[in-house]
């Protein structure tokens, strides 16, 4: 009997073994290495939440997070997206544009998220969106800035859950010109969001026969404001104010102290008192003034069940304050944007049959095809109309008057009041 000596050594055995495993892995048959792109797995859908946890936007970051967690819980209780649970991965961008871009890189390369979402401050959006396009990462912002619809950004960036400043001020201008006065002094923060107010309101009020007689730009990190107010001309009919940052209460207080008993009409954006109790000492002069509200903070007499359900889910009371602490007022006029955007992401993923990152372009195309979104638990702020070409959604705007310390809605501007000509068609751009 001849014993053939094979050439099997440890080295060749290991090589063979390795090759065998490699082949199996490549076909996806090896247990434990199943590619998610192939099967309907129960691996979670990961949404990267770019949160303003620190920096000047941190008050908004806190409430954006509360709303996001509530929205995701509701989605998961309802069965998730395409049968898969949703998982939120949070990273802090420090309300800083450079950090924002780095956060997106982390989402894509480290956390391997499906989409990114949640940015508010306009300068961070502008700083992060180009990186999203480079990474081919769908980026759903909740920002109000006009930059998405202006064509400045890219096909990967969308704003389907909150209206933009151009639309808001256009809806406000008729009310201001017809009820408050024609000569307007504007006070706004000196960055992209504030510049949107300055540019678009100027045009909108001129169309109503009014005029902006002063434009006062204040750095968003400012802490004392009295020194700016002497620039308000004596013959001002209406002071138009919008302010952001941690010092908004000081801003409004000092505005009141400056005018004393003889104030002109005042029209403000609720941003100036977001997360601030309207009953704070020093804000008594706001009585009788008007505010634009993205979403009425105080529940109105004819409140919809959708708003009631939304408040209960997020944990705020009828005055928009935390159920746990009535002095902890939320950023109610903005945070609904997170809730609605997450529901749009869900709808888009379900329509496109989203399974994994290979389907991102299909997801964006599915969202671009959306048009009317009815007033519902998914969209508690009001009915919406999405413009797939400009990636921007349009909705109702509310004007409230401060009456006995309550914000009472006096006028509701419809979707049509805020529409404007398309400035871009992202659908013609390649991915």
């Amino acid at each position: 009997m001849k014993i053939t000596k094979t050439n099997m050594t440890r080295r060749t055995a290991l090589k063979g073994f390795g090759a065998g495993v490699g082949t199996l892995a490549a076909t996806g048959l090896l247990p434990g290495t199943m590619g998610f792109a192939q099967a309907q797995s129960s691996a979670p859908i990961k949404i990267g939440f770019q949160k303003h946890a620190t920096g000047v936007g941190s008050s908004y970051g806190r409430w954006y997070n509360a709303t996001t967690q509530a929205a995701v819980k509701r989605i998961n209780d309802d069965g998730g997206i395409n049968g898969r649970p949703v998982e939120v991965v949070i990273e802090d961008d420090g309300t800083d544009p450079k950090r924002g871009a780095e956060v997106l890189e982390k989402f894509e390369n480290q956390h391997k998220v499906d989409v990114a979402f949640g940015t508010l401050f306009s300068h961070v959006v502008i700083g992060s969106a180009p990186r999203a396009a480079e990474l081919k990462l769908p980026y759903f912002v909740v920002s109000e800035g006009h930059h998405v619809a202006s064509g400045m950004l890219n096909r990967y960036t969308l704003q389907p859950g909150i209206t933009d400043v151009k639309s808001q001020v256009q809806s406000m201008a008729p009310f201001v010109a017809n009820n408050l006065g024609k000569k307007v002094a504007m006070i706004y923060p000196d960055f992209a969001f504030g510049h949107d107010h300055r540019d678009f309101f100027g045009d909108a009020i001129a169309a109503q026969g009014g005029e902006v007689i002063a434009k006062i730009a204040i750095p968003p990190s400012e802490t004392s404001f009295t020194k700016y107010f002497p620039q308000i001309p004596r013959d001002t009919d209406v002071v138009y104010h919008v302010m952001v940052g941690p010092a908004v209460l000081t801003f409004v207080k000092e505005l009141g102290e400056f005018f004393g008993p003889s104030r002109p009409e005042i029209f403000g954006f609720i941003d100036s008192i977001e997360a601030v109790d309207i009953k704070s000492p020093g804000l008594e002069f706001l009585e009788g003034t008007y505010f634009w509200e993205g979403n009425p903070r105080h529940a109105q007499a004819n409140n919809s069940s959708f708003d009631t359900n939304f408040r209960a889910a997020v944990g705020v009371d009828d005055r928009g304050a935390s159920l746990a602490d009535s002095k902890d007022v939320s950023t109610y006029a903005h945070m609904f944007g997170c809730w609605e955007t997450l529901n749009v992401i869900k709808a888009g993923m379900e329509t496109s049959g989203y399974q994994g990152s290979a389907d991102r372009q299909k997801l964006i195309e599915a969202v671009e095809a959306m048009t009317d979104m009815p007033h519902s638990d998914d969209h508690p702020q009001g009915a919406k109309r999405f413009n797939g070409k400009t990636h921007q959604v349009f909705g109702s705007q509310y004007i409230s008057k401060v009456t006995d310390g309550n914000l009472v809605v006096e006028h509701t501007a419809l979707i049509e009041d805020g529409l404007y000509e398309d400035e871009v068609d992202y659908t013609t751009q390649s991915f």
Binding site: S58, S224, T226, P246, A247, F258, P281
Partner: protein, 308 residues
């Protein structure tokens, strides 16, 4: 607004800035003067003063004046104790080496800032002033009946802001009295002049250093407690006061207390006046330009002594 009333408003606003800045910068100046160390965490002691004032006033209900007076005493005291502890447990062990102290105090800056963020939170929270009335201010013009007083539109100050200016003056005078007229002040001045000889005379230099570090932080905290009813308490509020305090101390002269006061008034008033007539950015540019000129032509500061 006409030029005259506008200038008056600018000057008053500048005076409030100068008052708070004088207290904050004084704390930094004393620490540098006696200990020869740069405390980068100084702005965070200021912020801690404001945050602790919020905690105290929230805990004490009733009339806001009660809470405010309690905060005025408790917050600087607590911040002083925290600072003295930082000195005893950290700075002493690195033997006040200049580079290491800068690094250590930068570390303290981050610890205090993030610690406040984690406990107090990211929101700016208001503290109610003990009293606050709007005072319309008159201006004099040459009318038909000769010189007349009238009340220009928008020209006003609040009673609380006037109180801040007065309080700062009182505290600075008290500090001057402490340093020049008491034994503790004498010991501090001796340690500043020559710490080795002072030690030879039996002065416990280590304990003096802790006391001085605590005093410096307490002064910054006091400035913050005074300013917090006007602004709010926010975890990032220490950044700008730190920068301004450094500018003031460099211009006034490191280690010179009268120089610090003069420079604080200069920077505060010019910031107020230039900000009103031009823009705050221009005011900051001019302040920084002034620092550069001082560093080039008179590096010891306006009142500093040249080390030969």
């Amino acid at each position: 607004m006409e030029f005259g009333p506008h200038l008056m408003l600018a000057s008053l606003e500048g005076a409030v800035v100068a008052a708070v800045l004088a207290l904050t910068a004084m704390g930094l100046s004393i620490v540098f003067g006696v200990m020869r160390v740069v405390n980068v965490a100084h702005g965070e002691f200021y912020m801690l003063g404001a945050v602790l004032a919020w905690f105290v006033t929230s805990a004490i209900g009733g009339h806001p004046a009660l809470g405010f007076v309690a905060a005025l005493v408790i917050a600087p005291l607590l911040v002083g104790v925290i600072a003295a502890a930082a000195d005893t447990f950290i700075l002493k062990h690195i033997k006040y080496d200049p580079d290491r102290t800068i690094v250590a105090t930068i570390g303290l800056l981050y610890i205090f800032q993030q610690g406040t963020l984690m406990t107090f939170g990211p929101d700016a929270r208001p503290v109610e002033a003990p009293f606050n009335h709007r005072l319309a201010l008159p201006w004099i013009e040459n009318g038909e009946n000769g010189l007349q007083m009238f009340w220009p539109w928008g020209l006003s100050i609040t009673s609380y802001k006037l109180f801040v200016i007065a309080a700062a003056v009182v505290v600075l005078m008290g500090l001057w009295a402490l340093i020049t007229r008491t034994k503790i002040g004498l010991i501090m001045r001796a340690t500043q002049q020559d710490s080795e000889t002072a030690q030879a005379f039996g002065i416990p230099v280590g304990r003096v250093y802790s006391l001085v570090f605590g005093l410096g932080a307490a002064l910054a905290a006091l400035g913050a407690v005074l300013v917090v009813p006007i602004q709010q308490a926010h975890y990032l509020m220490g950044g700008e006061p730190l920068l301004l305090a450094f500018i003031v101390v460099i211009i006034g002269g490191l280690g010179s207390l009268p120089g610090t006061v003069v420079a604080a008034v200069l920077i505060g008033m010019s910031d107020g006046i230039i900000s009103v007539f031009f823009s705050p950015m221009v005011a900051k540019i001019i302040a920084t330009l002034f620092v550069t000129m001082i560093l080039i032509w008179r590096p010891q500061g306006l009142f500093g002594k040249v080390i030969r």
